[in-house]
């Protein structure tokens, strides 16, 4: 089905319910879908689980969403940054739950969700506190930890250009988690800075095929 094209970010996130798991793209500010995050904040869904590499920078975007208190839990690899004061305060006062996941396991757990993998054995984290309580196995002499998929109800990501079908291309390192998150959510919402007619993207250069994209918002 062709992706739904919208102009209003509010409309694109209006059906995100309380308690949803929302995958949010970006590595720091690169690739962060700021307009979609702002719309989610204004929409006001509560009790959210958010998956992102970080836990917000400064006072805008993801940080502003966290500041509302509507995020019950964040799953990320690197919450602590020089400008993560919003998260730091929530965490230290016990108002947000944190699951720290090694960055590669975070990406692979979402890839697994999108690829229909039930769980997988990763060598990352073996012998560390992040493997405690997880099943371990030795395969061909190497130790692995069992990791489970992270599936999103919604993914909010940012790409550079979409066509009418919903095929996506990204820009430089703003690609980061976008293509993986697009596969791992029931509903994938993408904000782009340009929409072109179907046929104008070189099929050889499409990074995220339209099958993974539900809604496109031109911002």
């Amino acid at each position: 089905m062709t992706a739904q094209h919208l102009t209003d970010p509010a409309e694109a996130v209006a059906d995100i319910p309380d308690g949803a798991t929302v995958l949010i793209g970006g590595f720091g500010l690169a690739g962060q879908p700021t307009e979609l995050i702002d719309a989610l904040r204004e929409h006001g869904a509560a009790d959210l689980t958010v998956v992102n590499n970080n836990a917000g920078n400064g006072d805008h975007g993801l940080a502003a969403l966290l500041a509302t208190g509507n995020v019950r839990k964040i799953i990320c690899s690197f919450p602590r940054q020089s400008d993560s004061w919003v998260f730091d305060d929530l965490y230290r006062t016990g108002r947000i739950e944190l699951e720290v996941v090694p960055q590669g396991n975070l990406a692979e757990r979402m890839r697994a969700a999108g690829a229909g993998i039930g769980a997988f054995f990763s060598p990352t984290g073996v012998g560390t506190p992040l493997a405690e309580g997880k099943e371990q196995r030795t395969i061909d002499g190497r130790d692995y930890v069992l990791e489970h998929p992270i599936k999103g109800d919604f993914a909010l990501i940012k790409a550079h250009r979409a066509d009418r079908m919903g095929n996506l291309v990204y820009r430089k390192t703003a690609r980061n988690f976008g293509p993986v998150m697009a596969t791992a959510a029931t509903t994938t919402v993408v904000q782009v800075s340009e929409v072109v007619e179907t046929g104008e993207l070189d099929p050889e250069n499409v990074v995220t095929p339209s099958i993974f994209v539900d809604r496109v918002v031109l911002t």
Binding site: S77, F78, Y91, Q103, G104, T124, V126, L130, P179
Partner: protein, 221 residues
């Protein structure tokens, strides 16, 4: 059986400064290697890589062929390194998503990574992500994936803490990042091979091997 290498003692000088240490690491990176440099001190190794070495830098956020820090009009918020600093592309650069980026690590495709550390054990265990302090916010990033992924893991650190405690230890007291993953430790006072065979001092700077054994309290070969 190969002969045990002899330690080269540089006693006519003091310890290495940060630039000398970075230059030493850079010189040991094989020509044409795919390399990931960790955030902080390891990043400075890039300043000492000679163009003719043909080293290709990987950044975890999805790029091979990363160039130097961007200046002026080169700054593009969509083109940053793992430390979120704007950088430039080099000819032959490529972009890819996060699962591919970490497949490059976990799949053993990266030749070398250079990381900082709180502690490294003689057996090559690495602790560099968490002090274990109860009020510290844990943040691991890509450190665990890098530690177990690259073919060679070099650690770059000062050998002693400000209190004089050795950061090369019998066994780590900080929470581990990876087990038996470090191959070589570059410090201001010595370069040391570590691993299951124990620690072998390759060279010392401003300190003798005997003094190094005394100050670290380790049975260094």
């Amino acid at each position: 059986m190969t002969a045990t290498p002899t330690t080269i003692e540089h006693l006519d000088r003091g310890p290495l400064d940060k630039h000398e240490l970075a230059a030493l690491v850079a010189a040991d990176i094989p020509d044409g290697a795919f390399v990931n440099l960790g955030i902080g001190q390891p990043t400075t190794v890039a300043d000492h890589l000679a163009p003719e070495q043909g080293v290709v830098l990987h950044t975890e956020n999805g790029m091979l062929g990363m160039g130097r820090a961007a200046v002026g009009d080169e700054v593009d918020p969509d083109l940053i390194n793992a430390g979120k600093v704007p950088v430039i592309e080099t000819p032959g650069a490529s972009y890819f998503h996060h699962a591919d980026s970490f497949a490059m690590m976990r799949g053993g495709h990266l030749d070398v990574c250079v990381l900082g550390a709180f502690q490294v054990s003689k057996g090559g265990d690495l602790a560099n992500w968490h002090t274990g302090a109860p009020d510290a916010i844990p943040a691991v990033g890509g450190a665990m994936d890098l530690a177990i992924g690259a073919k060679d893991v070099f650690v770059m650190m000062s050998l002693f803490t400000r209190d004089g405690a050795s950061k090369l230890v019998e066994s780590c007291t900080y929470p581990l990042t990876g087990r038996a993953c470090v191959s070589r430790v570059y410090t201001d006072h010595a370069v040391i091979e570590v691993g299951t065979a124990g620690a072998q001092v390759l060279s010392t700077y401003g300190i003798s091997l005997a003094q190094l054994r005394e100050r670290t309290g380790l049975a260094l070969a």
